[in-house]
Amino acid sequence: MNIEEHFFPKNQVNEEESDVLPEEQGGIDDFHLGRSPEIIGEERKAHMNVEDLRLRNSLDKLDLTLGDKGMLERIVERGREAFDGLLDVPAINEIAARFGTEFDQRLLDKSNERIREMRVELSLVEDRIKLFNQMNEAADDKSGMADLLIGARNEKITEMREKSDWITAKIKEEGANAKIHEINRNKYVEWMVKRNNERIAPLEAEKAKHQNDLRKFDESVRPLVVHFEQLKMEAEALEKERDSWRENAKEAGMKKSEIRNVVKEFDGKINHRYKYLDEWQKINLQRAKIEQKIAAIEVNIRRADQSNEYNRILENKPLLIKDDNPIPEDANVNSEKIKTKFKAGDLLELWQEHFVQKVDKGFQIKEAVITGDSGRSSEIKLNHDEEMSIDEFKKRLSDYYEKRFPKDRNGELAAEIRMALGSFGRDEELLRAQLRDWDENERGKEEAPKLWIQDAIISWNNFISKRFGVELKNNADLAKTVILSPGEFVGKDDVSQEIGLEELQTIVAKYYQNKPGTENQLLRDRLLQECKNFSEEDFAPRS
């Protein structure tokens, strides 16, 4: 299916009979014979759009100039169905999905904004109704002037109830609109999530395969380590033997040429062993390089993976696709390491995670994991606030593990730990990314609940009416302490903000310092005290 078919489905181009494009019928004028001028005009426009598009082989070549802008506007004008069809057209589909996401997100934001404004309005109306009712109930004298006032208030109440019903209906209507925009937005985002997964999954699978290959390699090599250790020991023993023999021979007065011949024999045996050890060393270096490359793959996958960004959209969190937090350039395996300092506590936590992943589960890993509390791990004499480079941290750990799990008694575990330590923190950027993720999660957890200002005020009004009870109705000064509108409370421009508990307490206290009707010091002190009593439990949306 080509771009034209998606842009302008055949049934839209010629609803009556034709299922081929106009130009295939012998020219646009012939095709339009017998049609009304409006239809011809519309189709000519559509045909020109097709021509316009045909000049461009793919949207990759477009740089979103004014012409592209016009094109995308026309797509939207032609209806969502035609637009959605673009999701099946390679090259253009990614741009279409992004466009659709942002388009519906904007409409959703606007709907939500309208709903917020209407809620503020509704809250004002409801508070006024409540106040008038309270005033009517509080009136002792039900005759004469008071009666007239009650009547006038009742009339106002009826009017305001009608207004309240009208606003409620409008909120419902806008809510339905918002839902449609959300559904549409999610449809595009889900498409992008699927596309993202299709791109990331094979890379993840490849990476896992390489890690598995490397693990298998390590397993096959493990029994041979003993042989190479033995070779090393032999070479060192031969060196010692050669040196001591040479000393003894000199003392015994042997001829230099005879000594040289015997030493040469020793050297031959020693070099022969070192030759194998060099090969073994090269193998280890190659293995380390491969591990570094796998770490670089991991970094690239993280850079390629946009699922976090998409999920944020689905969770209605602020969009990050503007990329406020740019990801660094290519992970370069050979780039020089920057000796960044990290907090020891952070490194320790990352190490625990790395350790559990890397070290064979068969070992008693619980014993080998370093614990720490109150900002200090006494086992390795580590202050969690101390700043140190990865190398310093690894040295500290290495010294600790060597003492705790000596090679001669815990050979295999010691080897596992050495390998895990070797691969830890090879990629500082990866560590930083992990720490950033933690920070974000922590921030998410610590966020205190907030309420829209009108809900916060209602929670306060509910609280004082609960605290003062009947007294509120009978005491005119107290009745004045009910906060009537958010505008009066925080200023007209700020009514749509969200505030937390502490903020509400501060604003309320400040408000009663100056509010007319609270000149009575006793009443003011009481209100300020209540302000302190106002707790998280009371800070809740209207009941």
Partner: protein, 75 residues
């Protein structure tokens, strides 16, 4: 390498199983080369995917502005 090692082994002699070591070194090298080949391929593919994602992020802000403009006209 095996031939050379055998010659060396004959010349030097020793206690370790040299034949085993020579064979093992050869096998290890072969295995690692194989793994590295695959890793290089994936590294290249992942770098391309990362670049593409970067490009998409860059485009996203341009498209986002455009989409918001169009949406503002719509509403």
């Amino acid at each position: 390498m095996e031939e050379e090692s055998k010659a060396n082994a004959n010349a030097g002699g020793g206690d370790v199983d040299e034949k085993l070591i020579v064979v093992a070194l050869g096998a290890m090298k072969k295995d690692l080369n194989e793994i590295e080949k695959g890793v290089d391929q994936t590294l290249q593919e992942s770098a391309v995917a990362a670049k593409k994602a970067e490009e998409e992020r860059r485009q996203a802000s341009i498209i986002g502005n455009l989409a918001r403009e169009v949406a503002d006209k719509e509403s």
